[in-house]
C-alpha cells in the first residue's frame, strides 16, 4: 500500500493547484502524492535523533514540570501517551505493569505515562492509576502542548528515549504483543547490543 521511496533531495510537494471539481482521478492523484510525500519523510526521519521539546506538563498535584527535566541516570526512558478513556492505552500500560519488574532488572528503564485527559476526565487520572498500582511516573499534558509539539494525532503513542534523552523510536497505536518489541528496543539501548 505504501511505497517507501528514498528521497535524497529536498522534498517539495505541491498539492492540487486549482484542479477542476469532481475529478476523482485527480483527487486520487493528489492523495497519492501526499502519501508518497509521507513515505519519503518516514524514510528520512527513521534516522533522525531528537530531544523532547521545551514544554511544561502537570504532575498529579497540579505542579508544572518541564519535560526537559525527564531523566533516568543515563538509562532509557519510555514515554507513553495515554488517556483514562482510551482502552488500548490502558491495555498497553497494564501489559507493561505485569512485566515491569523484569523490564527494570534487564534494562533499568523508566516508564513515564503522559495522559492527555482534559478537564472532563483529568480528575480520574489519580484514582485510576492508584487503584491499578501502576509504578510509573504520571503527568497530565492538560493543554496538549507536548502532544501538539510532537505532532501526535492519536493515543496510544509511544516514544523511546535513549540514555542521553534522544528520541530513538516512535510508535503509533498499540497491538497486543507490542510490549515485547518495546522491551527488545529498550534492552538493546541499555546493553548496547
Amino acid at each position: 500500500m505504501l511505497l517507501f521511496i528514498h528521497c535524497p533531495c529536498n522534498c517539495i510537494v505541491v498539492m492540487g493547484a486549482g484542479f477542476p471539481k469532481n475529478t476523482i482521478m485527480k483527487k486520487l492523484a493528489a492523495l497519492l502524492t501526499v502519501l508518497l510525500f509521507c513515505a519519503a519523510i518516514v524514510h528520512a526521519q527513521s534516522i533522525q535523533n531528537d530531544r523532547l521539546p521545551n514544554v511544561q506538563v502537570k504532575d498529579l498535584n497540579g505542579k508544572l514540570v518541564n519535560v526537559n527535566s525527564f531523566s533516568n541516570n543515563n538509562k532509557p526512558i519510555v514515554v507513553s501517551f495515554w488517556a483514562t478513556w482510551c482502552k488500548p492505552c490502558i491495555t498497553e500500560l497494564e501489559a507493561i505493569a505485569d512485566e515491569y519488574g523484569d523490564w527494570q532488572n534487564s534494562s533499568g528503564v523508566k516508564i513515564i505515562a503522559v495522559s492527555i485527559d482534559d478537564a472532563r476526565t483529568s480528575a480520574g487520572i489519580k484514582s485510576l492509576v492508584s487503584s491499578r498500582g501502576w509504578p510509573y511516573e504520571i503527568y497530565n499534558d492538560y493543554n496538549k502542548d507536548l502532544y501538539r509539539a510532537l505532532g501526535i494525532a492519536n493515543v496510544p503513542y509511544t516514544l523511546v528515549l535513549n540514555g542521553e534523552g534522544k528520541i530513538v523510536e516512535r510508535h503509533a497505536g498499540y497491538n497486543p504483543g507490542d510490549e515485547h518489541h518495546l522491551l527488545d528496543v529498550v534492552r538493546k539501548l541499555a546493553t548496547g547490543r
Partner: protein, 534 residues
C-alpha cells in the same frame, strides 16, 4: 474545490538526509489525512453526495530554536467529510504562530490554544474528529515569576470555521500556590486562582441596551494531598443574549466541585458535581453547535468505549443541568484469592443529571430558578456501570461490563424522541496466542423496549504485532428496522506512521469524543486514513 492556489508542503532541506544534522534548530510536526468514498445505501437511506470522494487533511509543522518557536497548520477539506460543519471547505493555512519560551515567560503571537482553570470560562482547543477548532488569533502571555505564581494574559479573535470571527476576547488568569508562597511547609498544598474574560461583539439591532460586551469571572480553590484532592470552581457571567438562550437578558453561572480519594491499597475514588445555568458562551452570539465556543462544558459522565452503550451518550446542557458522577476503582491484589496471579480490577460508576427547577417569567430575563441547589423535575441522564477486568493467564484476559442507563433522548436530541431505559451487557475477551498473534472478541447486547428496541453487536479483532490488525464487526437492531451496521477493516503501523482502510455502514447519531458531541449522518462507504508525525 475552487481555483485557489493551494498548499505548498515545503520542507526546505529537511528531506535531505545528508544535510539533516546541519540545520540549526529542530522541526517536528505531523500529517493526518482522512478520505472517504461514499455509496448509496437503500437499507439506511444513506445517499452518497454528488462528489463521492471527501478528504479532510491536516498538516502541522513546528520549528524550535533554543527558546524561539514557530509553527503552521494547513487544513484542506476537499470537500469535508459528511457531518462536518458546512463552512469547513477549501484549503487554508489556518494556524501560524511564533513565540519565545523560557521557564519564566512564554509569549505567543498568532494562533494559540489556552485554558483558564477547568475551562469553564475559557478553553480553546482542537478536536479534529468533531470538526472543532476554536483556536485564538492574537497574543498570549504566560508569566511565571515564581514557581508558585502563575499569570496568563490573552487577547485575540477566535477562529470561526475557515476565518476569524468578529468577536474580540480578552482575558487574564492568576493562579498561586498559597503555602509555597508563604513558605509554610505542610503535607498538603493549597492553590487559589481567578480568571476574568471579556468578550465584545458588535450589535446593529434595535435595542440600545443590548450587552455587546459580556464579562465572565471565575474563582477557584484546590487542595492537594497525597491521598486527597479537592477542586472547586465557581463562575459568574453577565447578561449574554444569544442564539442558544433565545436572547434572554439573564446572568449565567457554573459551579464545579471535584474530589478524588486515593490509597496505596488498590482503592481509588473520584467524584464530581456540576451545576450549569445559562452558561453558553461564545465569541459569536449567533453561532450554535460547537462553533465559536469560548468555554468548555463537556458531559461529566463515564465515557464508554463500547458501541452499544454509546448509542445513548449524554451531552452537557449548557442552559441548565445539575448533577454529578462518581467512579470507584478497586484492585484485588495480585496473589490474593480473588485477585489471582495478575490482580482483578473492578470499577463502579454512577452518574445522574437533571434539569434545573425553573419558572418562566415574562420579562426579558426569560426564567428564574426556585433555588440554587434544587434539582429540577426532569431527569436527563442516569447510569450505573460495573466492570470487572481480569487476566487469567498469559493466554487469556477478560472484561465483563454491565450498564443500566436512562437517557432522555427527547431532551438531548430534540422533540420527536422519548425516554430510553436500557440495559447493556458486554463481554470482551483477549486471547494472546503468542508474542505476536492476538485475537479480541467483543460481544454486546442491549435490552430496551424503547426507541429502536434490542440491539446485538459483535466484533472480532485480530492483530499481528507490531504492525498489523484487522477487524470485522456488526451491530444489529433485530427487533425494529433490522439493519446490520457492519464494518470491516485493517490497519498497519510502522513506527510513527499508521494507515487504515475500512468499509462499512455508519449509523446516524451522536458522535462523542471527550464528552463533546456532534451529530453524524448515516453513510455507507470506504475510508482510508493516514497519520504520521516526526
Amino acid at each position: 474545490m475552487n481555483k485557489r492556489t493551494l498548499a505548498v508542503l515545503l520542507l526546505a532541506g529537511y528531506g535531505s538526509i545528508a544535510y539533516a544534522q546541519e540545520i540549526p534548530g529542530k522541526l517536528s510536526g505531523g500529517l493526518e489525512s482522512n478520505n472517504q468514498y461514499y455509496t448509496d445505501d437503500n437499507a439506511t437511506k444513506a445517499k452518497a453526495p454528488t462528489d463521492r470522494l471527501a478528504t479532510n487533511s491536516y498538516f502541522t509543522l513546528n520549528y524550535t530554536l533554543k527558546n524561539f518557536y514557530a509553527g503552521i497548520q494547513l487544513e484542506s477539506y476537499l470537500p469535508a467529510l459528511m457531518g462536518y460543519p458546512e463552512g469547513l471547505k477549501g484549503t487554508k493555512l489556518t494556524h501560524r504562530f511564533a513565540g519565545y519560551r523560557t521557564d519564566k515567560i512564554d509569549i505567543t503571537a498568532g494562533n494559540f490554544y489556552e485554558q483558564y482553570g477547568n475551562g469553564l470560562v475559557f478553553r480553546s482547543f482542537e478536536e479534529r474528529q468533531l470538526g472543532i477548532d476554536n483556536i485564538m488569533d492574537g497574543v498570549n502571555v504566560r508569566f511565571t515569576p515564581l514557581k508558585s505564581l502563575r499569570f496568563k494574559a490573552t487577547y485575540g479573535l477566535q477562529r470561526v470555521l475557515m476565518e476569524n470571527g468578529e468577536g474580540i476576547m480578552r482575558g487574564a488568569d492568576l493562579e498561586l500556590d498559597l503555602l509555597d508562597l508563604l513558605k509554610v511547609r505542610r503535607n498538603f498544598g493549597i492553590t487559589l486562582g481567578g480568571s476574568y474574560v471579556n468578550r465584545f461583539q458588535k450589535y446593529s439591532g434595535p435595542d440600545d441596551d443590548f450587552p455587546r460586551a459580556v464579562n465572565a469571572y471565575s474563582a477557584r480553590f484546590a487542595l492537594d494531598n497525597t491521598y486527597y484532592n479537592l477542586n472547586v470552581e465557581y463562575v459568574g457571567k453577565s447578561e449574554d443574549p444569544n442564539n442558544i438562550n433565545k436572547n434572554i437578558y439573564r446572568k449565567g453561572s457554573a459551579l464545579y466541585i471535584s474530589q478524588s480519594i486515593t490509597t496505596n491499597k488498590g482503592l481509588g475514588i473520584d467524584m464530581a458535581f456540576r451545576r450549569l445555568e445559562n452558561m453558553d458562551f461564545r465569541t459569536d452570539r449567533t453561532q450554535k453547535d460547537n462553533i465559536a465556543t469560548l468555554n468548555y462544558l463537556p458531559a461529566l459522565t463515564k465515557l464508554y468505549t463500547y458501541s452499544l452503550p454509546n448509542l445513548y451518550p449524554y451531552a452537557a446542557q449548557s442552559m441548565g443541568e445539575i448533577g454529578g458522577k462518581a467512579d470507584i476503582y478497586y484492585q484485588f491484589k495480585r496473589g490474593s484469592a480473588i485477585g489471582g496471579r495478575y490482580g482483578t480490577k473492578i470499577s463502579l460508576t454512577a452518574s445522574l443529571y437533571r434539569d434545573l427547577d425553573t419558572l418562566h417569567v415574562k420579562s426579558k430575563e426569560g426564567f428564574t430558578t426556585t433555588g440554587f441547589w434544587r434539582f429540577g423535575p426532569t431527569e436527563l441522564y442516569r447510569d450505573v456501570n460495573v466492570t470487572v477486568e481480569r487476566r487469567w493467564s498469559s493466554f487469556i484476559k477478560t472484561i465483563f461490563s454491565y450498564i443500566n442507563l436512562n437517557y432522555n433522548k427527547g431532551y438531548i436530541l430534540g422533540p420527536g424522541y422519548g425516554l430510553v431505559h436500557a440495559n447493556t451487557a458486554v463481554a470482551d475477551v483477549l486471547f494472546n496466542f503468542d508474542r505476536k498473534n492476538a485475537l479480541r472478541v467483543e460481544l454486546q447486547h442491549l435490552w430496551t423496549a424503547d426507541d429502536e428496541k434490542n440491539w446485538a453487536a459483535a466484533l472480532l479483532e485480530y492483530s499481528y504485532a507490531p504492525g498489523w490488525s484487522f477487524y470485522v464487526s456488526d451491530m444489529y437492531n433485530y427487533q425494529s428496522a433490522k439493519i446490520h451496521y457492519y464494518g470491516v477493516g485493517g490497519a498497519y503501523n510502522y513506527r510513527a506512521a499508521r494507515v487504515s482502510l475500512s468499509y462499512g455502514r455508519q449509523r446516524e447519531g451522536l458522535l462523542c469524543v471527550g464528552g463533546i458531541c456532534r451529530i453524524v449522518p448515516a453513510y455507507t462507504g470506504a475510508n482510508l486514513s493516514f497519520t504520521y508525525n516526526f
